[in-house]
């Protein structure tokens, strides 16, 4: 190896008058320039760069007329595209002849913060429309809508524990429609996230020596610790008993089983004749209606998958199409119909929940499962085809 001074040639390049040979030498110089040592980019820089460039490239690949509109959409659906780019890449590998399916006839907007609150006297409040601030008072408890998507129960001024214990227990119910979700803070400070098509019935104040609520559908709990008053959640004949911990219960009746996933602390699951303790990372599965069936405890449960919904994600791990569709139908408030022989595939990956249904289906179509959205008189139906 020897060093060669190319100063004169570089000067000529800079002046703008040079021969092709000189250009080749200058490029040779440029190629070698700063190649030694650390490049100075961190892993974060590279992964940030990957995302950014990918988005710009995707935008540029769109036909020009739609480019601007797409840009705004792309920004909001960044993680979806990321999924497409990185995830899609893994999926796409299975396809021998990639096919593009255009199925967007009617699109469906994602669900949002929608819920209805039923008070003890039967009065109902549509929370979606309600203004922020005090909604109602139940005994000494004030019910406030604090921000969009959250209701907080709080013991009112001047009420003591003793007083609240004397109160007759009144129950309220918070329920979400298909395509809805809502957050609730109970009077003991316990936080509850309610998924679509779900409900929770709870006392406005927790009197007595236990805290008891009942749910349908799916809810994620962060229970305020109180060793003196165990917290009990009942779902279709199953009771989860906790002192203070984080866990998720998925008990949609069409799922066939209740899955209770524990993230922190410990809980006890009871059915009529069975019971089991859960440790963090475990999931209990109880068959609906099978009160004598032993409770199955899964050791290495995918806890992220179980609670992804309350973080605004769909997350699947080796899920079949029916499982995927049940979740999508609840969130997009659509029906599903299967046509022809649907490939028996398993889906893994994650998608944000704040995008239109068509974007989710576009991603899923890479699995060689195709979709079209049909508009009925009142409802929309997703037709799944091979």
């Amino acid at each position: 190896m020897q060093n060669k001074d190319v100063k004169a040639i570089l000067e000529k390049i800079d002046s703008g008058h040079y021969t092709p040979e000189e250009e080749a030498i200058a490029k040779y110089w440029l190629h070698q320039l700063n190649q030694q040592g650390d490049a100075g980019l961190t892993d974060e820089d590279l992964s940030e760069g990957r995302k950014e460039m990918w988005l710009a490239i995707q935008a540029a690949k769109q036909p020009r007329a739609t480019r601007i509109r797409l840009w705004t959409r792309i920004a909001s659906a960044a993680s979806v595209l990321l999924f497409l780019s990185i995830g899609g890449y893994f999926l796409l590998h299975k396809q021998t002849t990639p096919q593009i399916t255009r199925y967007v006839i009617h699109d469906v907007a994602p669900g949002g913060n929608k819920a209805m609150l039923t008070l003890a006297n039967g009065k109902t409040i549509v929370l979606t429309d309600a203004k922020n601030g005090m909604l109602a008072e139940q005994g000494s408890i004030a019910i406030n809508k604090t921000t969009d998507g959250e209701v907080v129960y709080r013991a009112g001024q001047g009420s003591s524990a003793k007083e609240s214990a004397k109160l007759s227990v009144t129950y309220n119910t918070l329920s979400t429609p298909r395509g809805g979700q809502y957050n609730l803070t109970l009077s003991d400070g316990t936080k509850v996230w309610l998924n679509a098509a779900s409900s929770i019935t709870f006392p406005t104040a927790f009197a007595g020596n236990e805290r008891k609520v009942e749910i349908t559908g799916e809810a994620y709990f962060e229970v305020m610790h109180n060793a003196a008053k165990p917290f009990r959640v009942t779902t279709l004949g199953q009771t989860v008993e906790v002192l203070g911990t984080h866990f998720n219960i998925n008990g949609y009746s069409d799922e066939g089983m209740i899955r209770t996933t524990l993230l922190e602390g410990s809980v006890r699951i009871r059915t009529r004749s069975q019971n089991a303790m859960l440790k963090p990372g475990q999931q209990a599965q109880t068959i609906m209606g099978g009160s004598n069936t032993p409770i199955a405890v899964i050791n290495d449960a995918d806890t992220d998958e179980a609670v992804a919904w309350h973080l605004g994600l769909f997350k699947f791990h080796s899920a079949n199409i029916q499982t995927v569709m049940r979740q999508l139908c609840r969130w997009y408030n659509v029906e599903v119909k299967y046509e022809g022989k649907i490939p028996d595939r398993e889906f893994s990956g994650e998608i944000t929940r704040n995008v239109n249904a068509s974007q989710v289906f576009e991603i899923l179509s890479y699995f060689k499962v195709h979709f079209r959205i049909e508009q009925g008189a009142t409802e929309k139906t997703i037709i799944v085809t091979p």
Partner: protein, 192 residues
């Protein structure tokens, strides 16, 4: 696992020229970080480097139908980046700054060099990234990458179990992904 990931660059380039989007995605994932590093080494400006690299990929996509590679795909991509940066240097008079700082030498094998950036130079750059991997991991990765051997063939060649190969491969990919900044979304399809 994935068909496209097993394809050679040449096969990907051919598929791309026929309009295969997946091939494009695979090429992007193979080269985006390497090219970004390369561009950044020259430009020392992240935004500018990203602009250059994304333009190269956009051009690659737009001209996919006319894509006839005289050289290897990696060489084509690196040279495209180099040409773009060369123009930036020229127009912004960056070359003068390097001349002033005394940075005006090149390393050559002999006096009669033809100053062509060869495929092997590009390959050497890429190998440098891979070279920092732990040895066993690297060995398997390289066998797989250059020879396109199956897991079974690698096992036979290195006289280790197939299971070891596949776990080492997974580890190598994970390591590479981390090093090259591949984001953590990993999807796969399990066949019935």
């Amino acid at each position: 696992m994935s068909v496209y990931r097993e394809y050679s660059d040449q096969e990907l380039a051919l598929l791309l020229s026929k309009g295969d989007n997946t091939a494009f995605n695979e090429i992007y994932l193979r080269y985006d970080s390497l090219l970004y590093i390369y561009a950044y080494r020259k430009l020392k400006d992240k935004e500018e480097a990203k602009d250059v690299v994304q333009d190269i990929f956009i051009t690659l996509w737009e001209n996919r139908a006319e894509l006839v590679l005289k050289t290897a795909l990696a060489g084509y991509l690196y040279k495209s980046v180099l040409n773009k940066i060369f123009n930036i240097f020229k127009h912004q008079h960056i070359i003068q700054e390097y001349i002033n700082s005394g940075n005006h030498f090149i390393e050559v094998d002999s006096a009669e060099t033809d100053y062509l950036i060869r495929e092997k130079d590009i390959a050497a750059l890429i190998e440098k990234e891979i070279a920092t991997m732990p040895p066993r991991m690297r060995e398997i990765y390289e066998l797989k990458r250059t020879a396109f051997l199956s897991t079974k063939e690698i096992a036979e060649q290195l006289n280790i179990s197939e299971y070891t190969v596949s776990t080492q491969l997974k580890r190598a990919l994970k390591y590479l992904r981390k090093r090259l900044g591949i984001v953590v979304y990993i999807l796969y399809i399990l066949h019935p």
